[in-house]
């Protein structure tokens, strides 16, 4: 009988404590800085080295690039198939230019399976809609870079400084 009473005591002690449930979707979770959400991709930085596609354990990145007029590699298509991406972040780990990064975006529901096939444009705009922490950092970095490279940049109407 004593066991019951002890249990009851704990239950009663719980009454005044704070609720811990997060009322998603009305309340949004606060993800930490390292959170591995859906990628964003910044084409200007990419040097088309294929390292991300090669390390990906599920081979869900497909990309292609070509040389532009300045003989620099420029990305043409970049798709990630989120049906099979396991958000392991190995691609962001190997990327030498940080052009593929992870955001705090975690909502990826689609009505069709094809909808999970995201292209470059979607990945680029991923941060605009969701204001990810890292995207803003990237924006800052890019602004700093552009400022530095301004004299060079003005000559050619290159889309960005891919070093």
């Amino acid at each position: 009988m004593f066991g019951f009473l002890k249990g009851m005591g704990i239950t009663i002690r719980q009454l005044p404590t704070k609720k811990v449930t997060l009322m998603y979707p009305n309340e949004r979770p606060q993800w930490p800085e390292r959170f591995r959400g859906v990628h964003e991709y910044i084409p200007e930085l990419c040097i088309v080295c294929y390292q991300c596609a090669r390390i990906c354990p599920t081979s869900c990145i497909s990309l292609s690039g070509a040389r532009d007029d300045n003989k620099k590699m420029r990305i043409e298509t970049y798709d990630i198939n989120f049906e099979i991406c396991i958000l392991c972040n190995l691609c962001t780990e190997v990327c030498p230019t940080n052009s593929i990064r992870m955001t705090s975006q975690f909502e990826l529901a689609e009505y069709t399976r094809d909808g999970l096939y995201k292209n470059m444009d979607w990945l680029y705009h991923n941060h605009v809609e969701h204001g990810s922490f890292r995207a803003m950092q990237a924006e800052k970095e890019r602004a700093a870079r552009e400022e530095l490279e301004m004299p060079v940049q003005q000559k050619s109407d290159d889309r960005g400084g891919d070093k």
Binding site: M1, F2, G3, F4, K6, G7, I10, T11, V20, W31, P32, E33, R34, F35, R36, I55, P57, I86, L87, C88, N89, L90, E93, M102
Partner: protein, 368 residues
């Protein structure tokens, strides 16, 4: 009534989607009235072919796959693989990385045992302990989220170290969490362990002896609950477990109650290790010197660790390439499940879930 009375046997199909199978697990039981005369576990619903996939992947690429085996204790799975590769390569691991590994592994063991306690009581029909256990587990999972960016599939360890150093106040948070968890474990203990309904429900069921456990090559809590003192962290200390002071918890009777209490008390031991590790952790690098392309020299290697559910081993057969020729995981849930048929035969059908739950399987690990 004479015992020759003919009764028709009934076949009952439990699962694959049954809430207390903790995954997709099917059990075909043959019943005679309320007595189980035969039980036939059917597994493979969650089979992803991890071992086969691993043959086509570099060692680093396999690490995220190990997360998905025992998804309640993914840190330990990460470690099982990287430990085997490090053992094969004879790598030196920086101290800070080792300490971080110990902290996350022991915290993960605590989280995993919390899930066991919560879900086991849920199986037995008690709803609220589940919520209590999950509230506490949430703290740990959030800490993992902070250090590696994921709540379940961590992919945190790398061959030669860990991916990320702790964030500036992470260690402090761990230090603060330990006494809190201790208190909460005591609370759960008070809530459940003295409860007569619970005690009468689980005492003496699913009982096996030391010899039977060894014959079925059980490991982990299932083996220790019979009184057999075997914990790989003590028997064959790997990593830096020899630097910590902790006890191996053993039971006496080998029944479901002992397995429950062993796990509950193991949480306290794990917290002890976390506490020591968090206070001793040195500064320094978190990644050792690793060759750019990890090639395991040709040969066969086996390294095993004490997982949350038993001996978790990785057996690598290498032909000297950057990918394993064959990779086999010794998955404790799969091995421990094999005794289930023996435990169930002759039991009352009402005890079925209580016995299955106490073995503590994770279907991701059973099916591999």
């Amino acid at each position: 009534m004479t015992s020759t009375l003919h009764k028709e046997e009934m076949i009952l199909n439990l699962g694959p989607q049954h809430p207390s199978t903790h995954g997709v697990f099917r059990l075909v039981v043959t019943l005679d009235g309320e007595q189980i005369v035969d039980a036939d576990p059917v597994i493979g619903y969650l089979h992803r072919g991890t071992e086969k996939l691993a043959e086509g992947l570099q060692y680093t690429q396999i690490i995220p796959y190990t997360d998905r085996m025992d998804y309640l204790a993914a840190m330990l799975n990460n470690y099982a693989l990287v430990h085997a590769v490090e053992y094969a390569l004879d790598l030196e691991i920086p101290d800070r990385a080792e300490y971080l590994r110990m902290i996350v592994m022991e915290l993960n063991r605590v989280a995993s045992h919390m899930v066991f306690i919560g879900t086991y009581l849920l199986d037995l029909g008690a709803m609220s302990p589940f919520l209590y256990a999950f509230i506490e587990r949430e703290n740990i999972v959030e800490l993992f989220n902070e250090i590696c960016g994921a709540r379940l599939t961590y992919n945190y360890m790398r061959i030669g170290g860990v991916k990320w150093d702790a964030t500036p106040d992470w260690i402090d948070k761990v230090r603060r969490l330990v006494p809190m968890l201790r208190e909460k474990v005591k609370m759960i203990d008070n809530l459940v362990s003295g409860n007569e309904i619970f005690l009468n429900r689980v005492r003496g069921i699913g009982k096996f002896t030391k010899e039977e456990a060894l014959n079925y090559s059980l490991s982990g809590v299932n083996l220790r609950s019979t009184g057999f003192r075997f914990d790989l962290r003590k028997v064959r200390p790997y990593g830096i477990y020899d630097r910590f002071d902790f006890d191996v918890i053993v039971g006496e009777n080998g029944d479901a109650l002992d397995r429950y209490t062993c796990r509950l008390r193991e949480i306290e031991q794990s917290l002890r290790i976390v506490e020591q590790a968090a206070s001793q952790i040195p500064e320094g690098p978190v990644m050792g010197k690793v060759p750019k392309m990890i090639r395991v020299p040709a040969g066969e290697y086996y390294a095993s660790i004490e997982g949350a559910r038993g001996e978790l081993g990785a057996y690598i057969v290498s032909d000297g390439k950057d990918k394993p020729y064959r990779l086999k995981f010794h998955r404790p849930s799969f091995v421990n499940l094999q005794i289930l048929r023996k435990l169930l035969i002759g039991q009352n059908v009402a005890n079925l879930i209580a016995i299955l739950g106490a073995v503590d399987i994770v279907l991701g690990e059973v099916d591999g």
